[in-house]
């Protein structure tokens, strides 16, 4: 595998790995909570990038996979007594299946029509879960505290969840890199640049788009399970927050859509900024306004994002920044 010798891969894996190891080395629970949010954003942004960045389709409903996967995994744990790792796999599978079915239906749409359909999907999922009694309807579900004993108590369970998150983060980065540098990824990028021309050249666009959509759904579904496991409860309002989808788009665009490292950088920068805004007395209630303005400014002035801009400005960096 020549791809594994690419310095761009090691940079993209190395930076999140170092950030992720910091709480483990310091054994500090406060650090762990901060980094948990950052890693989670990296997984969401990196997954969205496979679809938004490589394939060029704007998805305003990416959080639906996080929510649905989280719900399915949570149900498996709370109602069926399944342990965390199989529940994560179940959540990921459920999200992947949902994406496959949805993809077959709405990926015929292009551009703004597809984007609108994805908003509809998020709202439909929320409405469905709100009325779905096995999943607790509008009240949601909560975990019995006793389930934590199989991981050696709540503290250990939280560290266990954190280590799994770190592994999943590195996993999604590896997948993102392999997709980008593969024949499949070349087909996706051809679709992004010009779908009609890509089809004329032989790219089976309906299939390629569906698989990209499925890939971008699996990891969010898995970390949804981790997130709600850590929280101990899940409810529709937490699982299907439309603004979380938009924040993820901001992260991808900020760092650089279509690059491997960009979404990771974007997630880190955005969460740092969000952290600062949330503690500032002026901005704490309007941090989403800042996100919106940021997105507008990026699209107007640096559509390639930080990493994309650096790659254009300094062609030499292309060897390291993938």
């Amino acid at each position: 595998m020549t791809a594994l010798r690419h310095p761009g891969l090691w940079l993209s894996l190395g930076v999140p790995a170092l950030i992720g190891l910091w709480p483990i080395v310091t054994q500090n629970a406060a650090n762990r909570e901060v980094v948990f949010t950052i890693l989670m954003s990296m997984v969401l942004a990196s997954s969205l990038n496979i679809f938004l960045g490589y394939t060029g389709y704007v998805n305003f409903g990416s959080i639906v996979f996080f929510g649905l996967g989280g719900y399915v995994g949570f149900y498996l744990m709370s109602a069926q007594g399944v342990s965390l790792v199989p529940a994560i796999l179940g959540g990921g599978t459920a999200s992947g299946l949902l994406a496959f079915v949805l993809g077959r239906a709405i990926l015929r749409l292009r551009g703004a029509y597809f984007a609108l359909a994805t908003i509809g999907v998020n709202e439909a999922a929320r409405a469905f879960i709100n009325n779905f009694v096995p999943f607790g309807g509008p009240i949601g579900m909560s975990l019995n505290f006793a389930v934590y004993t199989q991981y050696g108590g709540a503290t250990h369970a939280l560290w266990f969840a954190y280590r799994l998150l770190l592994i999943l983060t590195l996993g999604v980065i590896l997948v993102s890199f392999l997709v980008k540098t593969s024949r499949f990824g070349l087909g996706l990028q051809a679709i992004r640049e010009n779908e009609d021309a890509a089809e004329v050249m032989g790219v089976v666009a309906p299939d390629a788009k569906t698989w990209a959509y499925v890939l971008s759904a699996i990891f969010p579904g898995m970390i949804g399970v981790l997130f709600f496991f850590k929280n101990g409860n899940v409810e529709p309002g937490d699982a299907f927050r439309l603004h979380a989808s938009i924040e993820t788009i901001v992260m991808v665009m900020l760092g650089g859509a279509g690059t491997v490292f960009g979404p990771l950088l974007g997630a880190g920068l955005y969460q740092r900024l969000r952290g600062l805004l949330l503690v500032s007395p002026i901005f704490k209630n309007v941090q989403l306004v800042v996100a919106g303005i940021l997105l507008l400014l990026i699209i107007l002035f640096v559509p390639a994002g930080v990493v994309g801009w650096l790659r254009q400005r300094f062609p030499r960096l292309r060897r390291v920044l993938e």
């Binding site: 990028q189 051809a190 992004r192 640049e193 032989g202 089976v204």
Partner: protein
């Protein structure tokens, strides 16, 4: 016959873009497709290529009825084309553009084999030095060559060339005509839509003339340029026809 269109018609609402066009194309030939603007030439390409299913008639490629088959299936069977209005994959490099052709064309190559084929093809069309450049930064003549390279990298059996000479200067036309002749020598059958008369008359084995969707003439370049209907509909000037026939001889 590598390709046959049997009574192919295409209607867009009230507009009859093609009316019962029947073409037989033996393997290894170059067929020139000429006619005034709006005659339906590009529409015929779009029908052969699977962009539009024909309203009536059949298209047979390599012995299979392909009417209504999606463009990517036809690409896998060995059909490649260039576009009249160039369609580069702007933010991908010239190399990557051509690799898409090689990866997803008839041979469906892996990345490293595709890179070799793309490299060869770029040398062949004269873009070898520009393989790292972004496709969007090429000029028009280079983008036309890029389209050609992408189509060739797919190793097609049949190549549809839509005005590859338009917008080129005399020197560029001469070199592109040589390139086209060389492609045919390598065993690729070609249909070319062209407005540059002396070029298409020189390089084609046979010519089909379309006018308002009707197939008004068919034959060797010299037969076609003597046909009174063609002169009236397209060439306009009988002296021009005489000069063109002269150049063929």
């Amino acid at each position: 016959m590598i390709l046959q269109t049997l009574g192919v018609s295409m209607r867009f609402g009230g507009l009859q873009a093609l009316n019962r066009v029947t073409i037989d194309l033996p393997e290894g030939q170059i067929l020139g497709l000429i006619g005034p603007n709006g005659a339906g030439k590009t529409t015929l390409f779009n029908v052969i290529n699977g962009i539009y299913p024909p309203s009536e008639g059949r298209v047979v490629f390599l012995g299979e009825d392909i009417a209504g088959r999606r463009p990517y299936r036809l690409a896998h069977m060995g059909l490649a084309r260039t576009h009249q209005i160039v369609q580069p994959l702007t933010d991908l490099s010239v190399m990557e553009n051509v690799m898409v052709g090689a990866c997803y064309g008839r041979e469906r190559l892996g990345l490293s084999a595709a890179r070799r084929v793309a490299d060869e093809t770029l040398q062949f069309v004269g873009l070898g030095a520009r393989h790292e450049q972004m496709a969007g930064s090429l000029n028009v003549a280079q983008k036309k060559r890029l389209e050609l390279a992408r189509a060739l990298a797919a190793r097609p059996r049949l190549l549809l060339l839509d005005e590859v000479l338009a917008g080129l200067n005399q020197t560029e036309i001469a070199s592109m005509v040589q390139t086209v002749a060389e492609i045919r020598r390598r065993g690729v059958t070609i249909i070319m839509i062209e407005h540059v008369m002396h070029a298409v008359m020189n390089v084609s084995d046979r010519i089909v003339v379309l006018d308002y969707g009707e197939q008004i003439a068919e034959g060797t370049p010299s037969e076609v340029s003597k046909d009174p209907r063609v002169i009236e509909a397209y060439l306009g000037d009988p002296d021009l026809a005489a000069r063109l026939t002269g150049s063929v001889r």
